[in-house]
Symmetry: D2
Subunit: 410 residues, 4 copies
């Protein structure tokens, strides 16, 4: 369905060529300062036409707040918001309409609904993500104001162009092929952990690919241009870090933090893969090396020495940086001719199509950040309910020491 | 929370050492023949003590149906079911209780709840999955009876031991390092597609590792034994295929088929990664090669020539085999001593612990199958509601041909 | 929260003086012919300024469809819709703002959210119901097209002015005071059942009070005018019938048909009471007289001779007319001065206020119909899922005859 | 479905003659002292066989806690609980099985599910409410411990036998028939408000009818015995008060406090009517008299002088006593012969049946209390999430005074 979240709830609407796309954000904490500019900044990072790497469809995507705020402050009531579709051009029926586009949603939408929007991707269009990004910006404003939570996503690969090994997420580090060798050279590289702890959106945006390593970014640009010039497309991965999330978020057993994150990320168009922390790489590292030993932080709280866990243990955040990686397939829309069949099975060649993004990952960055923010706030509110309720109970003095948090060492 | 699903809904309860673990299954179609044996078969594949590769905790895990059936037929009302915990031994407080186990849920459960079960993993224990497996077996019985849907999971890697390249899921096929080389040798290998289309549980169970390739299975066994002998642990991946799923399942935009699958899979203990279809590999293959061209099947319906999509396009099933891969980290519980700190920050060494699974993937196989079955049935029921409702409307004759499924070619 | 429904889901937004009010309707069956006019007709019945009995706030309330349809046909994707607030006048702070309005939501909204809209009722304003009415009109269009379901509400009382006894809902029929007399004169009067089975919206709308009995309607008018002239207000009841609902709707145990109806109705502003079928009156009628004996209908199906049950038995519809009654309190907003206290507890007199509806029940009629339609469609889709799923199972031949529907008599 | 609640969630299972009935309670605050005795006390008040006024089916209904607590303290994880059905006798097929019982759920369950339990009411049996009562007792334990919240229900009428007017809920006070007389003699009687503020379960339980007025209770007993002796049944009403609920609970617009209450109450078997505060009576009292003027309480907070609102304004609690009334129809199961038709339409006489409750309201008292407790806790947790989240935001200093709570008078 088109609603995400249990307590902080986002419901979206809109197709590629209808009057507007938008969302209703329900459950936003009241008393939060919120202006359209807070939202616009992320919409502008998402909008097409930012560089020569993206689709020429150029829309300003200006958000209009409909409700839920007054004098720039949230009321706690639903926030209605919309962005007009400037491009509502009528669609001329052409021979290409006889063909379901390969790996696109034409065929499956018709199988599902029996009817579909006449042109463009309809609801499967990436324009649908505008509502998410707007809603995510609201969640993020709260998280930043109340907790200093920071969410930064960046492009970690385009095609076969990856960040250098030292900066790469665990699964992108080349694995030793020696099956008997359990050595893990440096757990997770210090450079990568440093990148996670310090990367900012400003740094990410310095290059149109949104890859924070200039040399790699340049190679990625070339790769995207090569795809574009070939009327082809190419995929990539986005890595995201969430900093300063308090310990205790995540709702076992089905709504573990990583399960909600995975749900959120795999709901973004064109995604095919998700991993958190050590991810697929963590399947190859023995427990004795993969376990994150605890350490005492300077403030007396516990942290972990390594962070293979990606900030989540037992489905619950532990206070360390949360990081994860998402794989976006190469876009299905390409302007090459394709040999395929028509809806009725007639073989033929689907002729070249028009404008499209040769690579979606640069524009996917704010979408990933938005969905992450929605997940964190929704989980945070659920945990707030529990902690607040528990805090009203008298202390239980009779429990065995194995059941409660031992007192801090003085 | 402890409920999964919207229309077919599974709610579970139970810790590692309480009286029982179990589930309530709500929304099961009425009129389905269902006996405890239908459920027991998967519980027995999940239970510990099946081979020398698993934990010595040996419980029979016999399911007791409490409600929702009569004369071996489902009534459509909630099915209550439980499995007694044979092992409810009291826990003696020892020095090890001063330590949160690294990468385990001890610390995060205390941060979340302020209190935790005195021994074992409590709710984070793998015993929690019994309710899922039982519920999944019910879903599966329906899917098989009504549609002939088949769900088969198998172990595709243990540590660095992978299936041979020809049989491997896309991401496990070694990637050409030449960044300028877009060639994809054989799309997805014919052997792998053949494996997906034919693998059975009987074949999977022939080897205790549940890897369907005997030579690889043998190497996996050695790898697990090496971990066991070293008081260590090792992770692995499980690959799963779902066959004969009708086109049209999945609820865009937030509850796309792959998003629900990812949510379900990442809610299984010890999972860190998920990919569907081409997964992370699909990010490197240009759209022109990654797109699944349509073909006309012998029955006149459309299929796809390749299946990089993994049976899902636009978040909706297309009728092709659905396949996905899940990464399970190396278990946190190891019997080696570990240098870490106590809850209060005091550095020390957590002494060796007792019994555990050195590798969970063989026993994870039925859990993956169960969660997959729950997702498919829940999505199927939602689509049934839509299709049935739409079927009662008069045909719309005025729609442009771009909006409806063109007539089949005769 | 601001979402109602499980499969057919309505999410609304909007305060009394923000930019617009609206809704997202998710889960609408695809392929339904739907035009703005289908929605406008009910919005116009709801809008203020229809007669001298309502508030002078005069807004046209024109609906704008944003998404989810094309060429006048629903796509199955979310339908975004909005109605602009013409009246967004700034609020001047006056002494009256020192007072929480008695029986209004000023005080409780501040207690809940800590902040509230500066003027008018904010989210507690009746303008919030616009989204419901629009969504309900969509549900109703489906129900009428697919099933011929008819939903008609009417005013059954204003203050102490009730429909004549022969036409009155059961609880409005004067009860015999003789505690030992179990006689129920005529079960439910034939006139009342006739009214339920035949009343149309056209008849209801013949009089501005929306009471279908002209003489009573005239008395109601006088009663409302008396309240208006006295700067006072008066309440009333609305009775609603739903015809042609198939048997089998309602989701025991918590989402029984009447439980969902009650939830829906008590969510309408100013409601304080709900009863279905015999309602409170049914508590006084002995079972032997209250039980609805079955009869064979001309088409061979079963009906009931009487209909004390109001078309619902065991929480599930039985195919008979569903009827229920809702009590709306006298509006809290009156233009008399009121002795009360300020927020800080200072006693004083809240001066007269401006425009308001002296009686809301005439305008409540389309709101009640809308919420009823939403409930019916949501339940219908849930039952469609079940029936369709069950229909795919092979017949169970071994069940005892007590467990299945006996064959129809030929 | 069989789950109630959003954050505090109760899922039940069980038919009348299956192995057990029970529930899973998810979202209970951790750290609450909870013993089986806390639950048993309400189960025992609900169980049959307490007096000669109830069904002779005599079961002890002993609760068995399965999970979610240790050492008598809740862990915050799901609490599994079950009560064995002692009575699982096989059902002999008799001629009565040819008949759907009038006003019972036989017919509608078959229409809904196509199959039903062979004997008794199956899932429509009142035994289903055991899970609710157990879950409600847990909610209540929290509410009492953390807030001193008290929930007391009592029988306010049986058939035509009502509490004396001075003690009666508003709608049971005889209305002046003079349509032009707006006088409301004493708003809500002081005696009734006194009863609400002081009634205890001990007082309620002094008489087997659970009516707190001895003389009326005696008349009720006679009325029930008259029904029993006549092989008939009789209905009644239950009134319930909830004291010490903090202001601010209820989730506009669809999940207003009264909407959730109504949903909960109308989900109890045999209920047909619900009213809160002034209820249907409030429709007849002009706003000027119905409005609850605010007063300053001794602690400086605001209260209301009268309480027509029943403690809820704008769908949100205001801190005053919450009171409501539920109508239970006369039980459908009677042991008289009834003229009706068989499933196949053949007219005939359904012969006398066995044991049943001639009147359910005395046993309904703990069920009403349970559902009330579940609603309050679920709403409380949702509000806790909001308030806690809002409390972390910096104060907004620029809002106009109409938008925030004015400072308290010193």
């Amino acid at each position: 369905m088109s609603t995400f979240g249990k307590v902080f709830r986002v419901t979206t609407y809109g197709e590629s060529h209808c009057a507007s796309v938008g969302a209703i954000v329900d459950g936003c904490p009241p008393g939060l300062e919120l202006s359209p500019a807070d939202i616009q900044v992320q919409l502008s990072r998402r909008r097409p036409g930012q560089s020569n790497l993206t689709t020429p469809r150029n829309e300003k995507d200006l958000v209009q707040l409909q409700s839920g705020t007054e004098h720039g402050v949230t009321l706690g009531t639903p926030i209605g918001l919309l962005v007009k579709n400037e491009d509502q051009r009528p669609h001329d029926y052409t021979e290409t309409d006889l063909y379901p586009r390969p790996s696109h949603a034409d065929y499956t939408y018709l199988e599902k609904y029996g009817v579909k929007a006449s042109s463009g991707g309809g609801r499967s269009s990436a324009r649908e993500t505008i509502g998410r990004v707007a809603a995510g910006a609201i969640a993020e404003k709260y998280l930043k104001t109340a907790y200093g939570i920071e969410i930064v996503a960046f492009v970690s690969s385009v095609g076969k162009i990856h960040l250098p090994e030292a900066l790469a997420p665990p699964s992108l580090v080349a694995s030793d092929d020696d099956e008997d060798n359990d050595d893990v050279d440096d757990a997770i590289s210090a450079e990568f952990r440093q990148l996670l702890s310090s990367i900012t959106r400003e740094e990410v945006d310095k290059h149109p690919t949104r890859c924070p390593h200039p040399a790699t970014a340049e190679k990625m640009t070339q790769r995207i241009i090569r795809a574009k010039d070939a009327s082809d497309s190419i995929g990539g991965t986005v890595t995201c870090v969430i900093r300063n999330v308090p310990a205790g978020l995540g709702e076992p057993v089905f709504d573990k933090f990583e399960a909600e994150l995975a749900h959120a990320m795999l709901s973004i168009p064109a995604t095919k893969a998700f991993e958190v922390g050590s991810g697929f790489r963590g399947t190859e590292v023995p427990g004795s090396k993969h376990n994150d030993a605890f350490v005492r932080r300077s403030d007396g709280s516990l942290g972990t020495k390594t962070n293979w866990s990606g900030g989540i243990q037992g489905g619950i955040t532990n206070g360390e940086d949360i990081y994860f990686r998402i794989g976006f397939k190469s876009p299905a829309t390409i302007s090459q001719a394709q040999d395929t069949v028509q809806y009725d099975g007639t073989p033929g060649t689907l002729a070249a199509r028009g404008r499209h993004d040769p690579c979606v990952v640069p524009r996917a960055v704010p979408i990933v950040e938005a969905m992450a923010a929605i997940v964190v706030l929704d989980q945070l509110l659920q945990q707030d309910a529990r902690k607040t309720a528990a805090s009203r109970l008298p202390p239980i003095k009779t429990l065995p020491p194995t059941m409660v948090m031992p007192p801090k060492r003085v």
